[in-house]
């Protein structure tokens, strides 16, 4: 056991660091610094830089565009991108759909969809949750009936509603779980469909979240005609694809590198803010202790993730233990948000988003939006399988209870 990087790994770190420094889009950096909502084009600026370099999808198989990096290199990559506060590559196509495609798709489907995902030409969204199917995803009702159209081709006619579709307002295509057999057991009658969001009968309605943002949407499907060749894997066996996808969704969710970065930001804020008695807040006994406890928690998570990574590189896929990463990762993210809000005291209260330029000088810049981030961050222990569901998974699959 050891933690040392080899000279090659250190050289790789330097290469990554230099690449980010020289190539991170200035316009995106400015938008992030201002804390404003990104445009569709801005979301993809960094994506396209990475695609051109060939570093977009380190975890994909090499034949589809993966980098072939070792787990250590991937770890260095995620550390460095978080350290430089790079925008995370949107997960919908790259981390969520692509693994399903290259695992379960036909050669033709891979050829048709993977390059556009890689190059950021198509924006994907997820159509999983429904108003009545959240934690209990397998109870989903969105219905797809097979029929032969006048053109002699086979289609699914899809009817139903999906919800919590993140950034669906920008989406060109979506991957959907639909019920193709209403009579079988919940998990066995589901199929996995790729749907062009421009198909007639699809409407996307914004959901405004409690902090005032528009990130998620309802998606309504009214007699939406989907060619049968857009189905991934076998009919009624889409749950197999969904399960694989959920495991990927969980393994990325620890967010260790990003939490480290946010811990640094918290230290900076608490170093600037005054305590009640006038010193730095970071030197105030209670606050200092909370930051120290959080840092220890984060270290425990980091080494748990490293153990998981090491297990993966020796051939084990991400198992149910990855639920640990989801639970602890989201708890730590939420704790960081709480402490940042605590740190800024009175200036956590102003809601300046709509004031447009007039907010300059109302409190320190770093305070703006912290309350909103904390409110919005409550979603992380709800989405991707709530933390209660993750505990059920560990109880059943790991402890055998």
């Amino acid at each position: 056991m050891n933690l040392d990087f080899t000279p090659e790994e250190n050289a790789f770190r330097d290469e990554v660091r230099a690449f980010i420094k020289d190539n991170y889009p200035a316009r995106l950096r400015a938008a992030q610094d201002e804390g404003r909502a990104l445009t569709k084009e801005e979301y993809l600026l960094w994506h396209k830089v990475l695609a051109k370099k060939g570093w977009l999808a380190p975890s994909w198989p090499v034949e589809h565009g993966g980098t072939g990096w070792t787990p250590t290199q991937k770890y260095i990559w995620s550390e460095e991108t978080a350290r430089a506060d790079c925008l995370a590559v949107l997960p919908f196509g790259v981390s969520m759909l692509a693994p399903v495609l290259y695992t379960f798709g036909t050669e033709e489907q891979k050829k048709r969809f993977l390059p556009d995902i890689y190059n950021g030409e198509v924006w994907w969204c997820q159509g999983y949750s429904e108003p009545g199917a959240g934690s209990d995803l397998a109870s989903l009702k969105c219905k797809a009936e097979r029929m032969t159209a006048d053109d002699g081709k086979e289609y699914y006619i899809v009817n139903g509603q999906k919800t919590w579709t993140t950034l669906g307002q920008h989406a060109d295509w979506g991957f959907f779980l639909v019920r193709t057999d209403p009579d079988s057991k919940p998990q066995s009658g589901i199929s996995f469909l790729l749907i062009d969001m421009k198909t007639p009968g699809i409407s996307v309605r914004p959901i405004i979240t409690l902090e005032g943002g528009h990130e998620v949407n309802d998606v309504f499907l009214d007699n939406v005609k989907v060619p049968v060749e857009n189905r991934i894997f076998h009919e009624n066996q889409g749950w197999t694809c969904a399960k694989a996808l959920l495991a990927h969704e969980r393994s990325g969710i620890a967010g260790v590198a990003r939490s480290k970065r946010n811990l640094e930001k918290l230290r900076t804020i608490a170093g600037t803010e005054r305590s009640d008695v006038g010193g730095s807040l970071i030197d105030e006994a209670f606050f200092k202790r909370k930051v120290a406890e959080l840092e220890i928690d984060l270290t425990a998570l980091e080494f748990t993730e490293l153990r998981t990574l090491a297990g993966e590189s020796s051939g084990k896929g991400p198992g149910p233990e990855s639920s640990i990463l989801k639970i602890k990762g989201t708890e730590i993210q939420q704790r960081l948000q709480e402490l940042a809000l605590e740190a800024v005291g009175h200036y956590g209260a102003p809601f300046l988003r709509d004031l447009q330029g007039n907010n300059l000088g109302i409190g320190p810049d770093y305070a703006d939006g912290l309350a909103g981030e904390m409110f919005n961050g409550r979603k992380t222990s709800i989405y991707g399988g709530s933390n209660e569901i993750q505990r059920n998974i560990i109880a059943k699959a790991v402890l055998g209870l």
Partner: protein, 380 residues
Amino acid sequence: MDFSFTEEQSMLRDTVASYLADHYDFDKRRAAVSKEPGWRPEVWKAFAEELGILGAPFSEDLGGLGGGPIDNMIVMEEFGKALVVEPYLGTVVIGGGFLKHSGHAGAADLIGGIIEGKNLFAFAQAEPQSRYNLASVATTAKKDGAGWILNGHKAVVMGAPFATHLFVTARTSGAERDAGGISVFLVDKAAKGVTTRDYPTVDGNRASEVYFENVSVGADALIGTADNGLPLVEKVVDETIAAMCAEACGVLSKLHTGTVEYTKQRKQFGAPISSFQVLQHRMVDMFINVEQAISMTYMANIKVTDEAERAKAISAAKVQIGKACRFVGQNAIQLHGGMGMTDEMAIGHYFKRATMIESAFGSVDHHLARYERLSLGKAA
């Protein structure tokens, strides 16, 4: 020992509750706070004229209802349940508190103006560097003939956009964090040299940054004694916290009951999610938090008039309520799942208010430290 309310107090609660039920449902509140001016003057007028509640804690010879902290507690708890944004706390509790306790010559008239609904007050106390230390005052007031000249910047003054007058803490002598040398002034918001930058707050209230630039006030602007204003400020802030704890109780009980109701309706895995033991226990813990918050709020409002016990009791209550606000608020959202994250459901709005109460007039850490100083410090 008696924890029951008088007949008058029960009537006060019923009056407030029934008015709010008719005029202050979630949709009406949401519509009002999302556009200018961010509150409803007609509601304030009704408080003054129809309900007469703006006189709740004032003596009858001042034109009030003859109540005290318990009456404020009752009003604020009901306000918490409806997320009322109109400035009862700033006007009646804070403004009324300063006027009652200072022995100011104009107090009777000014209180009369509160009761009539004409005088609206906001408390310009916090400053960019002050955090929760009431003695950290950089705003200055310099003697100028019989009157004073004020200069400085007050941060996040809640309710200032609605206010006619501001109670302002200013330093008349001493250094920035000295306990001595602080004085309190009542300043007309329209006075020359007072400028404000108004904004909404994350919980649907309104606040301002307030700047004083050579603001000239008369001798009668001084509230209480010069240089020795801090004890008065501490007393009024403690009363404010006692009232705000009651508001928190209203907010917390809505968070809890709303969650219990929702989990009974919401079905997953073929059953209402309220049937899952892990969620039942969570809701029991929320309930325990709410009950303990109510207990501490009663304790605080009983002891707030006891000079020897007041400060310790208030800090203890604020610690308990601050923790409850976080635990109950966060779990209410968690148990609502994705629905709890939406702006259209009331639950998130209660959570946001609970979060702001948690740190208002001192965070858990602040009051824990104060409690330690007052309680354990003595023994050492």
